[in-house]
């Protein structure tokens, strides 16, 4: 009994913090989502599920925003994961320059998002930008990256991948280093090619970490906010207006706290569903 009390006392700081700053607001958001609450005038009316109904059936922007979020995730997740895997395979063995290049590829992860966005906005200018000037050298007329909706989406995905790929690379390197070298040597003695070693030994052994990386990268891509805020502000022509940014606009620019909360709940369930699907697929493959 005494031990139990002591244990609770020891964990009480974190539990208190969790209750006040996480669980409390989370429950509050469920409640807010059923109100029409203008933060400025402080008028709140209970509207039941109206906010959800409006978002799902009446608001054309909502489906546009969902579409953008899906495109962003569908572009970012495979690109990020495949690049991370390639880099990890190239840099996992101790070799000349491996540590140097790991540092280079990881550096953007710890770089300030603001500095990153400002530099890329300069590089991606239409005529004066370095990217288009390099393309011009090889005879390609680059697009006005951040002013054309489709190209803007490509630009935010690619710059986000370059920024964050280092994190997944490190996770893959850590996983690769736990695979015993004996497996590979044995396979090589049997005459297996590099591709056979990768596809039949390494890739299956990487499956658990691949699943984890996929889940966290997908969740992260649905929650992306700072990068969009800094690079495009959701534009041009709402081409990069993703869900998290739309929630911010509703709540913090228009002060429709109730509506923003309802959107946040929808995002919560989208991400939850996505995670469950991925875990289920993994479970089925494992059997």
């Amino acid at each position: 009994m005494r031990e139990a009390i002591e244990a609770w006392l020891f964990v009480s700081p974190i539990v208190t913090g969790f209750l006040i700053f996480f669980l409390g607001p989370l429950i509050a958001v469920f409640f807010y989502s059923m109100t029409e609450w203008n933060l400025l005038s402080q008028q709140a009316t209970f509207v039941g599920l109206d906010n959800f109904e409006d978002a799902l059936t009446r608001n054309p922007d909502f489906w546009h925003v969902i579409r953008n979020s899906v495109i962003f995730a569908a572009g970012l997740v495979p690109l990020n994961m495949s690049l991370a895997l390639v880099l990890a395979l190239a840099l996992s063995r101790p070799s000349f320059g491996a540590v140097f290049f790991r540092t280079i590829f990881f550096a953007p992860v710890v770089t300030s998002a603001v500095a990153w966005a400002i530099v890329w906005k300069f590089l991606l200018q239409n005529e004066a930008g370095a990217v288009n000037q390099i393309l011009a050298l090889v005879g390609i007329t680059g697009p006005n990256w951040l002013r054309e909706p489709d190209w803007a989406m490509v630009a935010v995905i690619v710059t986000r991948v370059i920024k964050m790929v280092g994190l997944n690379m490190i996770l893959y390197i850590a996983a690769l280093q736990t695979i015993p070298r004996d497996y590979e040597e044995a396979a090589r003695l049997e005459g297996a090619s590099n591709w056979q070693i990768f596809s039949t030994i390494i890739w299956p052994l990487l499956a658990p970490i691949t699943l984890i990386i996929m889940v966290i990268t997908s969740i992260g891509s649905f929650k992306v906010f700072d990068h969009i805020y800094l690079m495009t502000g959701g534009g041009p022509e709402n081409g990069t207006l993703v869900l998290a940014f739309y929630i911010y606009e509703q709540g913090f620019k228009f002060f429709n706290v109730g509506y923003a909360s309802a959107l946040a709940i929808i995002m919560f369930f989208v991400v939850l569903a996505l995670t469950i699907v991925q875990l289920a697929l993994r479970g089925r493959n494992a059997r």
Binding site: G24, P25, S41, N144, G235, E237, K253, I265
Partner: protein, 414 residues
């Protein structure tokens, strides 16, 4: 997760409630300047207020302009409102209609020697309705053309101030001049305000030419962007960007202040940047159009919050800050809305960086100008406009169709 963050901020604000000041007679005033000269002047007003209220101290709280409305709203929502604060023109209606501001008329009219009628009627337009006064403008700053004299000399062109003196500074001349500057110097002819005309400064980019041609963003509840005057004005800007290539186009940066554009549009508070610019410069009125002179003004006002602890005292402080004497003191940074201050020599000689001859341009514009459009749903209107205006700023865009799309998007909000 975003939801959790929202909740977290609200919880944090709630926690902040418990730490309000222990002094009953401390006024908290939110502002968006951190400039030392501005603060010294503002503290001077706090000192002189002590003559009447020796026990009252004033604390200014600086919030950066980009976060100002958001943070202020959280303070109001969290039950921790400042007593008074600065207010942007485009947010004024939103706050007044939400019922979070008090009517200052009784205090102002009851203050001896205040002379409320001294404030110019157009300058007060945004801040009063049905005899109620929601705020007092402390800065009524018209938009003017800043030009790089060196680039004009290099191109062998008369500068805008000289042209305005001869009555030749109109929208046609503006377009020709910008194109000639580009051809002769290789620098951009014109840059929108702070290079943000396609993003956060849409109104600052579009309103001066639209008003010069006799149009407006909206009047009463009807959208004006698709009216012929507005279409003509925006078509001209569009031609300058994509045909003449004389205005810094979307997706590029020009920067007047580092000498890469020959002209820009801004307010005189930006003159402080010019001392470091390293080139000769001047200011001139906006080019005229079919509607003649149509100066456009940006404003900021002082307001008192309805839930403030010391709202009566705060209202008195606002009356003190905007007395004739103190408005004259502020004029060096913030152009006044009081006719008596505007008409005197004190104003046109108040700014050390700008010659009196050019300050007359500012004084004239205040007298004749009209404030930028404001609406209780300004944030929503701007957000609805943004994607349609993005579509307008494409080389192949049909200006008239794009402006119709702007109106279709904002009409329901008006």
């Amino acid at each position: 997760m975003k939801a959790a963050r929202t909740g977290l901020i609200i919880s944090a604000l709630a926690a902040g409630l418990m730490s309000t000041s222990a002094y009953a007679a401390e006024l908290r005033v939110t502002i968006w300047t951190g400039n030392e000269a501005h603060l010294a002047m503002l503290n001077g007003f706090a000192e002189s207020f002590k003559a009447k209220h020796p026990d009252v101290t004033v604390r200014y709280e600086t919030i950066p302009p980009g976060d100002y409305i958001q943070k202020l709203t959280f303070q109001l929502a969290g039950g921790n409102p400042p007593d008074a604060g600065w207010m942007f023109e485009d947010a004024a209606s939103t706050f007044a209609n939400a019922g979070v501001l008090i009517d200052l008329a009784p205090t102002l009219n009851g203050t001896e020697g205040y002379d409320f009628a001294d404030f110019s009627a157009p300058a007060m337009g945004l801040w009063q309705r049905d005899g109620k006064v929601w705020g007092v403008p402390f800065s009524t700053s018209p938009f003017v053309i800043f030009y790089n004299k060196d680039l004009f000399d290099k191109a062998g062109l008369e500068d805008p101030l000289a042209l305005a003196g001869k009555g030749e500074w109109d929208m046609v001349k503006f377009q020709q001049t910008a194109a000639k500057l580009k051809a002769a110097t290789g620098k951009w002819g014109f840059e929108f305000k702070d290079g943000q005309g396609y993003d956060t400064r849409i109104m600052h980019a579009l309103m001066p030419p639209i008003r010069a041609y006799g149009g407006d963003a909206w009047s009463n509840t009807e959208c004006g962007f698709d009216k012929p005057e507005a279409v003509e004005a925006v078509q001209q800007l569009h031609d300058m960007v994509f045909k003449d290539k004389s205005i810094v186009p979307p997706g590029e940066s020009g920067d007047y202040f580092s000498g890469n554009a020959a002209m820009t549009i801004n307010q005189i508070s930006r003159a402080s940047l010019m001392s470091k610019a390293g080139f000769n410069w001047g200011i001139a009125p906006l080019p005229t159009g079919a509607a003649g002179e149509a100066p456009v003004i940006g404003q900021a006002g002082l307001v008192v919050f309805a839930n403030a602890k010391n709202k009566d005292l705060a209202a008195e402080f606002i009356a003190h800050m905007t007395s004739k004497e103190n408005v004259a003191t502020m004029a060096q940074f913030f152009p006044p809305a009081r006719k008596s201050v505007l008409s005197g020599d004190a104003f046109i000689t108040s700014n050390k960086l700008i010659p009196a001859e050019q300050m007359k341009v500012v004084a004239d514009a205040i007298a004749k100008g009209q404030v930028l459009p404001s609406h209780e749903k300004s944030p929503q209107i701007l957000a609805a406009m943004k994607p349609r205006v993005d579509a307008l700023w494409r080389a192949e865009a049909n200006v008239e169709e794009s402006l119709k799309a702007v109106c279709a998007a904002i009409q329901p909000l008006l």
